[in-house]
Amino acid sequence: MAFITVTDLSLGYDEQLVLRDLNFSVSKGDYLCIVGENGSGKTTLMKTILHLKEPISGKIETGDGLKQNEIGYLPQQTIVQKDFPASVKEIVLSGCQGRCGFRPFYSKEEKTLARENMERMGITDLANRCYRDLSGGQQQRVLLARALCATGKVLLLDEPVAGLDPKVTAQMYDLIEGLNKEGITIIMISHDISAAVRYASHILHIGDRVFFGSREEYLKSGIGKSFVEMGKGGENNG
């Protein structure tokens, strides 16, 4: 059984159907890229996978030893976070919160885990810096470290390179690829089709036409070809 299996899923908000009859699955070690135009329901899909939203119909099952709350999440930044007075250490450690249950304070193991993940993301020297004073790329690393504290299995990334400059974007993609090679399953939502076909093992394309399959299949399919062409013409920042 796969980590995440989605069957006949229909999604929407405010009674309006955005996506219907979606079927796909994510297995251990996959790097799935979810692409599609604005408004195609990428964010809604992601929130449904995280069980922040109820689907209209269909179901999402987790299996292969994955529990529902073991999906780490890298959200897009909110306005609240932009001037939040918190140190990097505090934020990374808060990723362990889900493990705590009713226990009020963090254990020694959780503090070690937070330290290890800061090291992994190369932000150890920023530990006591204030989050709001960091650059965009550094902030994303902090949130990635936090997500890694929540899980070592699956990471769901929502537009992880939005607003980053090309150099930092490339570093971010390398970082994510590295995590995938370490065995962490990646689900990434992206606008950036050229990066998607470069790094992903599987592609889920949603919108008017839906495609799910491996990268190779996507590149051969009609929808894939037309989108990759469009990507080359439009944005050349991969």
Partner: protein, 275 residues
Amino acid sequence: MYLQYPFVRYALIVGVLIALCSSLLGVTLVLKRFSFIGDGLSHVAFGAMSVAAVLQLTNEMMLILPVTVISAVMLLRTGQNARIKGDAAIAMISVGALAFGYLIMNIFSTSSNLTGDVCSTLFGSTSILTLTPGEVWLCAVLSIAVVLIFIIFYNKIFAVTFDEEFAKATGTRAEAYNLLVAVVIAVVIVLAMNLVGSLLISALVIFPALSAMRLFDNFKAVTICSAILSVICAFFGMIVSILGGTPVGSTIVAVDVAVFLICYFSGRVKRGIVR
């Protein structure tokens, strides 16, 4: 010295405790853009108080506390989905309750000095100086409960304040903690009405937090600093008001404002040096 009078001691104890409680959640409320919730809730409490006065309840708290708690839960609920809606809801409930409270007091009041009554409820009054030992105990117990709850749930409140969606997705029961924050803030508001009156409560909640945010860069330091600032301001304000015969509530708030200005400028200087 004035400290030999028990009512002065009571007032100082209660004032300091209330200042401590109200500042703790201030940081969370300011960051979640709920600064005005204090205002809204205190007006609800004012409305409930006038109803209690008209019904001639012996224990006003029995009515005020539940009504305020329920309003707090409702307000924080709507705020989660859309901020504009939350804003409007707070404004609506707050002025609505204020108007009804005054109306009811006007129509049914038996008091000879109505304007004085209303004014003292709105701007705080000498009620802080006329506390009975029973009220002091109640206040002390509730304050200690608030502080303990805050310490026990500190990490969870941080996680939920910083990123509610992430917290929810990774298995923290964010709704439950939002509810907790709502209940605690309602209790704090009802307590604080004694000290500074309905209209000035927001100041007690947000000024220490805003001051501390000018000075410090991490959540723990901001929280501790805001608690300390709040206690100092309340203590100092009360001493000044007792010695100078000024109104307690507005004196405390004036001190809060002065401290905020100091923090604002020292924060700028500090940042200037760092950069």
